[in-house]
Symmetry: C2
Subunit: 215 residues, 2 copies
């Protein structure tokens, strides 16, 4: 580990050799995510909800309707945000040593509202760029009513921990002669054939980010 | 909606037309997941952690080291579990109407420990089958020490809500003449070329479940 955990609750206790706390590692995992899961408490219950996310600088951004439970509740209490990518199945010779390759980040903190109109516009344009680079200049930007109805929230990435497993099978020595295939099955999120609206088949197809490898 | 929400906290309030509460829909979404995210409270903080999961009957299963924080804490308090699949980018003519196609499930309840040895063995074999059908008969099964060191936890799917978006672009009528590609980019989790251990290249490759489409 190159860096120390930024807080006691981000310290990786289970398999600490998989932990990373540096900004670049955290940012790289966030940058390949379309969604995150957010844990928060509301109404005597803990909740875990998925929502789209993207990064600008040292912060994770989410958005939602201005009157939604999620965006209202998150401004009033701390939360925990998880992003997890499964990168492979690790198939061992023993059931016990089966594993998965993955990259995950857990972030702690409290979201703040992005209220300044220009900052909100910039953040929403960055979201469009995150899913299709170059697209924000091609589509109609949000109008005043759309901006007013949309909440944009920002969570600094200061209190975050990444966990990565990206290696092969770790079988016990006594199992190495078992005659079964062992190895890694890589997994990735892949874009399939684009489904254009009928009126759009002659327009150039959208660009896709590198993290969505095309088939 | 064919069914009612099983509890107030599972009722979908934001875009309720996307909500589903029937067992088959919930099970189908769980069955295409390798991991879930679990929200729980511990030590004055809410946490959101990813872990592998699978389904047997009407329950979601997870496992972990017997002495891990996650497995110990989950037996003592309610949690919320989220599974979310991103199935496509919905690229509209306006920034505002961009969306994603997805299938998600949120489950509420409390995990219970699977302690009976036979039930534990059966559950762990089902996990191996979930990642590679037919594989549990080929690999070395867990020995007594491995079983003793592994906690298996079960959460009934009774209090669960699914949310699905699986349709095309919904642009405003006034935007339909904007000359930009609009449509859906399908996304899926895809298995790449298998990376065999050096000693295993002559063994038959493992089978993969249908939800991991191969390239």
């Amino acid at each position: 580990m190159e860096h120390e955990a930024p807080s006691p609750r981000t310290r990786i206790r289970r398999k600490p050799q998989r932990g990373h706390y540096d900004t670049a590692t955290v940012a790289a995992i966030v940058d390949t995510a379309l969604i995150c899961q957010i844990a928060f408490n509301q109404g005597d219950s803990v909740h875990c909800l998925p929502t789209a996310c993207w990064r600008v600088g040292n912060a994770l951004y989410i958005h939602g309707a201005n009157n939604s439970r999620l965006t209202r509740t998150l401004l009033d209490s701390d939360c925990s945000v998880c992003i997890a990518h499964v990168d492979g199945l690790v198939l061992a010779r023993s059931a016990f040593h089966h594993s998965m390759n993955f990259r995950s980040v857990v972030i702690y903190g409290r979201f703040v509202a992005v209220d300044a109109p220009e900052e909100k516009k910039t953040a929403l344009a960055a979201f469009v760029e995150h899913v299709s680079p170059g697209r924000s200049a091609l589509v109609r930007p949000p109008n005043d009513a759309e901006l007013a109805g949309t909440a944009v929230l920002r969570l600094r990435l200061d209190e975050a921990a990444a966990k990565i497993r990206n290696w092969g099978v770790e079988d016990d020595a006594c199992d190495l002669d078992i005659p079964v295939w062992a190895g890694v099955v890589p997994l990735r999120c892949t874009a399939g054939e684009m489904e254009a609206e009928a009126a759009c088949t002659d327009f150039p197809q959208p660009s896709l980010p590198d993290y969505l490898l095309t088939t």
